[in-house]
Amino acid sequence: MKFAVVQFGGSNCDRDVFHVVSDVCGVDCDLVWYKDGLKKDYDAIVLPGGFSYGDYLRAGAIAARMPVMKDVIRHADAGGLVLGICNGAQIGAESGLVPGMFTTNEYPKFICREAYLRVENTTSPFTSKYTPGEVISIPIAHKEGRYVASPDVLETLESENRVAFRFCDSEGNVTEASNPNGSAGNITGVLGGDGNVLVMMPHPERASEKVLGSDDGLRLFESMIAHCEAQ
């Protein structure tokens, strides 16, 4: 099994993801510079957080149009796993891997704090190790994390069970007060493709070891690994 983490100019969570996949989970992982393209077969590709291209134009817009993303889309179209975290989620949405987009927070400032998420879908390759409705604590760190999509798209996401995570309070209540950035329907994790793509604003790699305060994110990587092992 092999994972890849794509590094763009301005990525800054690439090594954190690499650490969790290779050191914590013990899975072989490559750090791939975007200009080198994806030359090997990978089971899973991670688009990490950061500020690719300085968030110029729109967060993720320029990275989404780099040639390496054609490789990533090809990988997703073939059923391979793609996980986009934070800036990686913005890149994933800008490249059309999932519908909608992530834009400026309702209150336009950078938010860096713990967030409670309710796990809405436990049948995806990313969430199988969680229980339905489980409340997990994973940090967020973004200024452009407000999920926006047309009413039609939002309806389809709900009817096709493509919402993976929603912001909630510690009890699992999805409320306006528990929505840190004004995302539509409190949505902050969206499944694309045949469920083999997940983009999410929270950082599971920052919550994958107890020493960091939460290891609720670890099961996301373990779910991916279990899925790849079963293939």
Partner: protein, 81 residues
């Protein structure tokens, strides 16, 4: 021939504009009462094209492929005379 096209990218009607809201509050603090503020971004692009229409067509393509995100944006192009 070179044509300069002004491309304006703005938010679709009804889209939340947090930046405009913050600016509106700041203007209000300075004593400027406003009914509505919206923000937009302007790109001036100089293109070598055979005609004005050709230059505008290229600018539209730029909007479709990169400059605007159709989820929240609309755009307009204007070729300078």
């Amino acid at each position: 021939m070179n044509y300069t096209v002004d491309i304006t990218i703005s938010l679709k009607e009804g889209m939340l504009d947090p930046e405009a809201r913050a600016i509106q509050h700041a203007l209000s603090d300075l004593g400027f009462q406003t009914e509505k503020i919206s923000t937009a971004r302007v790109f001036s692009v100089t293109i070598d094209a055979v005609s004005k229409e050709g230059a505008e067509g290229r600018a539209v393509e730029m909007c479709e492929r990169l400059l605007a995100n159709p989820v929240i944006h609309c755009y307009k192009t204007e070729v300078r005379e």
